[in-house]
Amino acid sequence: MLGKSIPRFEDSRLLSGAGRYVSNLRLPNMVYAAVLRSPHAAARIKEIQTVEARKIPGVLAVWTFADLADVLKPIPQVAPHPSLRPRTPFPLVKDNVHHEGEPVAVVAAETRAVCREALRAIEVTYEPLPAVLNAEVGMSGSARVHDDLPDNIAAQFGQETGDVSAALADCDCVITERFTIGRVSSQAMETRAVVARFEPNSSTARLTVWTNTQSPHLTRGLLSQQLGLPRHDIRVIAPDIGGGFGVKNRYYPEHTLIPLLAMRLGQTVKWVESRRESFLATYHGREQIHDATLGLDASGRIRAMRDRILYDQGAYVTLGIVVPHITTISVPGPYRIPNFQVECTCVYTHKAPSVPYRGAGKPQACFVMERMLDAAAAKLRIDPVEIRRRNLLQPDDFPYDTGLKDVDNTQVRYDSGNYPKCLGGVLDLIGHGSFDQEKRNAAVAGRKLGIGISCFIEMTGRGPYESALVRVDPGGRIVLSTGLSSQGQSHETTLAQVCADALEVEPSSIRVQLGDTSIIPLGIGVYAARSAVMAGNAVALASAAVREKAVKAAAAMLRLPPEAVEYAGGKVREIAEPHRALALGEIAGALNSPALVFPFPPDIDPGLEALRFYKSTTPAYSNGAYAVVVEVDAETGYVKILRHALVHDCGNLINPAVVETQMTGGIAQGIGASLFEELHYDREGRVLNAAFDTYLLPRATDVPSLLQSHIVTPSPFNPLGVKGVGEGGTIPVAPALAAAIENALGISGGITHVPMTPPRVLSLSGATREDCSSTEETPVAFQETTKVT
């Protein structure tokens, strides 16, 4: 069952309009909530008048911080780090606003229309303050985001392998460049939503919260902290989720506010975020500045690299230094870099917090590394493919210790792979050998074609653990529960395949339960491309335990020693007389019968079921190579992708079609972030493009079908030999597109900013390399700073 592209079990529901999204949830006795948000990024709240709002018929509650001062606590920072000076928000602004869209008041009313009316009736007097909108400026301390932090620095950290200064002094070629990566919004098609119900006299969990979170158990833990209820008195349900991409893994102010309304009003309360709110209040991602230096010998082999990173943290830290730290350890990527030094400074600004968004720090690192290699190739007059070949790690290098430490202080150790094979494969797939001719032919017709390639790795399968519970009932029906929720990753199908493989039954016979803290005691959740690695292996362990238990119990039932029976095809049979067999349901019935028809052997507990945890601190590293051919419209700056290709290695594939669609979708998001997507701010820190008509997402005419193939190098670090794929597609796109655009325009260097929007491309087109440096939006072309021979 592993390795088969079976159709998804979730499709029968999702393709018939029966998706169970929180935003579609309708419950009895339900009222609605809405949030008043600050129109300012930096301001002091002088006064809030709610009297008029409270008078409106149908209004049930109008709350500001003052109304809840006795219960509100800052939202916890969940990933402490010694270098961190954490500042986290209260669910409602206490004194000062720190980013546009921060919640200032919450209302509840009988209808949504009355909610909107109440919001309009609240009068807030703000005293605007100077806004910090740029990490570099923020460090100068000209204005403060948090009053007690004069330099606005949230964290500073770094590490070094070897001796970078000495190695750079010995290099034949040294290149320095500054790269800037724009701030983006993940924009899942379903916005955030919370529905809460409190039943004070319930015999089970009193508080039930439906919310589209990627991690129901983690959300439950934070709800417990925020509301003062015991963790196990809360049930969190995360049904079908309309896209997550990392930002739905965070705990937001509404997670506290909506349950508080439900508890105090005694009514079920529903809140659904508007699209504009999702741009302003759902957390952002990606924005970084890199000052990188790469040193090579004359043959193009990397000797040393230094990268100094500025991370625009936004107003608050809710997940420690996780994203920028991932960037720091991801810069070397698939290459051997004997001397490497990285420093990172995280700076508070008056923007919505920056958190993991699909790729979580890795796309930025890949952009920097690949762009530096392209610059080095141009400088040394080496083919871009060849310079990569000379620096890629080789198959016999694994396991490979990078010498770097992960955020949890474990060694960053790559598990396995064949990086050169992926690169070679993608060149064939894209038609690299005949591209020069194609480009010349197009040039005759006045068309500007370009090709770009990039290599990447993807750290996947973060620990610490994931859970799986496999249960068989007397009817032989198998129910599998995990701590995951689903944002579209096909877990109901792939986890059933893993279980079916172990139990030798049809995947369709297994019902997979997800997204509910009541179905399994403990769990972590869905992020960091961890489901296949962590939950997949947990399911394999639990399934194997059920199988083992079935054999032991069946042997006792058949009055045979365990070695006289065997497991085959979902049954346990006597080896000598295979017709003497017991089905899983029969064994389950015997193991859980009120009548003592079968005396339990002393070492067997009741029930044919097993709860297992897969624990790991060793991520699995997927890898791949991506190539793209573009046509650049010199009149408009529009970049049309003519074709693109991926050769990828994620170890053993559970369901190849699921892997391919994950990669295709990830690359589509990569295209959006590379060519269109960036949040723009006015001077006061207000987002200028908080809508789909100004913040452009890729559409069907922007993303051609992806040519892709997979090679398989199993991970030796986990029993299934799998590696994750959730984030990978977003990683390699920007540098390949940058190289392709430069190639089309006949320039080398110049593209140092993501996204490469039409105006930016236009500013490059027609320009020579020299005058690129004089254009406003495109920083200085690559330049050599040191040459010692």
């Binding site: 018939s16 993940s186 916005t191 309309g242 896209g243 809508a691 789909f692 992806l706």
Partner: protein
Amino acid sequence: MQTLTIEMKLNGKACSRDVPVGQTLASLLREGFGLSTSISCGEGNCGTCSVLIDGRPVRSCLMLAVQASGRAVTTLEGLTDQLPRLQKAFSENHAIQCGFCAPGFIVAAAALLRAGSRPSEAEIRETIKGHLCRCSGYSGMVQAIQDAAAQE
């Protein structure tokens, strides 16, 4: 808010409702009839809430419910002719992931196929470019719509 009585044919059945004049069709279909029509942007940019009005795709978040009076409104649930083969083709091609946008895409695909056409890949992409999907990268949907057209 003032209400008006509207009469429309919803998924093949005549029905009558009193609706507030300011209510959108999307809201009526969701709240009043419990249908699958989902709202993603509410601003007419994403196509998620698409329904057919007299056979033509329309964004129901931009249309007032009262404007549907006297018209035939079809949501995913009412696409009896094309739905099975579209569902089959979408499933076989792993066309969707989270599925939130799916009702809008399927409605658009049904309108395209209702014309009895055998659309090219480019025509399909042109047709669905008014719809946003954040998960799939569109390729599976394009192939699915082609496959469904071939089964006609």
